[in-house]
């Protein structure tokens, strides 16, 4: 018996059109890395061409193994049969109508060589039509567990360590249609390492009958099963949330918090007692902010710590007391302006388990906003949580911070409120390197461990720096789109960033975090670079258009 190959490609086959099936087989044969076996399971196709093509392929290449099921069992049964045939160290999932890039296994192998503890590897992907034309490249971020709960973003190509796949029980029939999502969630719960290869190495065929082409109409049960798979995952890891499907977008899911207890939260609000016009009414911002917290929040176990400059009118402080009652604590701040110092001063007076840092020009727009933040912040591996901030006119102000050249920026800032972002980035919960300090929750213990906000940064970047400290300590930062707040931003800060602030941040963080892992080399400010799009569209594999040739 020959030595076990490194990769076993699992491909359940059912009624695949002849030319498309041949293209799939050719794409496997064209792999630069030859250390593979292809485990094909014909799920009792009625078309005689399927058995004939598979048999010819098997005869032509000893690495190709074929099994035919007596009765049609569906994708899960066929995938499990393919898994039973596999001998490789890793299994790669390839659908019967899709194609691999010639360097797919080669590049995955190189990534694993560089990180031998990797148990799961995924790559970027694009779509390919029946004529072989490519489109819609999906340039993915590195491993983002929070995103994986609201979108099956890793999808194709997925390569998993076989021993782990078998340890979690293989493909689960309970999640037929989203069995891959369920499998990846189960494997990554135990994985020692997850790798992302930022290259388009998989071409997903858009047929009327495939999820890539037909969307929810083609496979409605698959999207329903996806929600159940995430729900089961939340229960396994103890995340107190109910999974809900997006009303408009089939591939997007939302987590609604179902907290079993309410840990104490301290809301820290630095204020200078400024007033301005909000919706055609002159208001003292901090009073407006407190009023909205008290009136609109459903969470009960919180206190409010206002760090007030000595310039704040005593009548304003009196008003705050009337609004928040015993929840309020006012901490005076008399030194020259330093946002970081104000936050640290407030935090030192807090008693809550979680700190919620809030600008005084914020208005609550989501009643369960604190529950949402606590849901994430309670997880030990989370360092900070932020939400979707909107300007007064509904435009996007903050949807998580992106980094380019070591400097933070706000992708989609000023775009319409209903803008979904590239690959639904605005709509899904996901990880990013930082969230704005205008509305940020962190555990008090983490805040103290990290030394709070850096006082060398009195105005700008102190929030980004804090999040980077949390990230560098091995914790993740979360953006939750369902936590929407209004931010009357212009009144609270100047947008001017000093040159020294940029240099300070770059010097501190660029050497250790040279690129944003939650972006992609092919993205710029959250959207694909035109060059990358062109390369993807022009670089067609041409496998389908070649004259017919059997696998050799």
């Amino acid at each position: 018996m020959a030595a076990a190959p490194r990769f076993s490609i699992l491909t359940p086959v059912y009624e695949t059109p002849a030319e498309i099936l041949r293209a799939m087989l050719r794409s496997v044969a064209a792999q630069r890395c030859g250390d593979w076996e292809l485990c094909l399971v014909d799920d009792a196709s009625e078309g005689p061409h399927v058995a004939e093509i598979l048999e010819r392929a098997r005869e032509a290449d000893p690495r190709i193994k074929v099994r035919r099921r007596e009765a049609n069992g569906g994708i899960v049964a066929a995938s499990n049969d393919a898994l039973a045939m596999a001998r490789g160290e890793f299994v790669a999932l390839l659908d019967h109508d899709d194609e691999l890039h010639p360097r797919a296994l080669d590049r995955v192998a190189s990534a694993i060589d560089a990180t031998p503890k990797a148990d799961y590897v995924y790559t970027d992907e694009d779509k390919i039509d029946e004529a072989g034309r490519r489109s819609g490249p999906f340039f993915k971020p590195d491993w983002s567990p929070e995103r994986m709960r609201t979108q099956m973003y890793t999808c194709h190509l997925s390569v998993l360590r076989r021993s782990l796949v078998e340890a979690v029980g293989g493909f689960d029939p309970e999640f037929e249609g989203s069995q891959d999502w369920d499998l990846v969630l189960k494997v990554t719960e135990r994985a020692r390492g997850v790798l992302h290869v930022p290259k388009v190495l998989y071409h997903w065929r858009t047929l009327e009958t495939s999820a890539a082409g037909g969307g929810e109409e083609a496979k409605p049960w698959a999207f329903e099963a996806g929600g159940r798979a995430v729900q089961a995952h939340c229960e396994r890891i103890g995340l107190p949330a109910r999974v809900e499907r997006d009303a408009a977008d089939a591939g997007v899911y939302h987590l609604r918090p179902e907290l079993r207890e309410q840990p104490s939260v301290s809301i820290v609000i630095p204020t200078a007692g400024t007033s301005r016009e909000v919706r055609y009414e002159r208001v003292v911002l901090v009073s407006h902010c407190l009023r909205s917290i008290v009136a609109d929040s459903t969470y009960e176990n919180y206190e409010i710590v206002c760090v007030a400059d000595d310039s704040v009118d005593p009548r304003v402080l009196g008003e705050l007391g009337e609004i928040a009652g015993e929840r309020l604590r006012v901490v005076p701040y008399e030194e020259p302006f330093n946002f970081s110092a104000k936050i640290n001063r407030g935090a030192a007076h807090c008693e809550g388990e979680h700190l919620l840092l809030l600008n005084d020009d914020i208005e609550v727009a989501t009643p369960d906003w604190i529950e949402r933040m606590v849901m994430y912040s309670s997880m030990t591996e989370i360092g900070a949580v932020g939400g979707r901030l909107l300007w007064e006119d509904g435009r996007l102000q903050h949807v998580g911070v992106g980094f380019e050249g070591g400097l933070p920026g706000h992708p989609y800032r000023g775009f319409a409120g209903e803008f979904k972002g590239y690959s639904n980035n605005v709509l899904i919960a996901r990880n990013c390197l930082a969230v704005t300090g205008a509305c940020l929750m962190t555990r008090r213990a983490v805040f103290e461990e990290l030394g709070g906000f850096t006082t060398q940064l009195p105005v700008n970047y102190n929030d980004a720096d804090y999040c980077l400290k949390a990230w560098a300590s091995g914790r993740r930062i979360v953006y939750d789109p369902d936590l929407a707040m209004y931010h009357f931003e212009s009144s609270s800060r100047s947008s001017e960033v000093e040159e020294w602030e940029k240099e300070w941040l770059q010097e501190r963080w660029l050497p250790s975090i040279p690129r944003d892992p939650y972006s992609n080399p092919n993205l710029r400010r959250g959207e694909p670079r035109l060059g990358a799009m062109l390369m993807s569209v022009l670089g067609r594999p041409r496998l389908l258009r070649r004259p017919h040739r059997e696998v050799a």
Binding site: F415, A416, G417, L530, G531
Partner: protein, 54 residues
Amino acid sequence: MRDLLIGKDAEMGRLRGRLEQLEDRTNRMLGAAAFLRRLGPATARLRSLGRGRK
């Protein structure tokens, strides 16, 4: 009256947001066009080298 103005602001916000999106896309296209223009002389040189070889 106030509600009406707030509604109009939201409508304006949507329009301004879309305009911002268009501006962003235009800037990306212009950037790509400039990049291609910069490539122009280089590709012309390569083409002439190719012709020279024949």
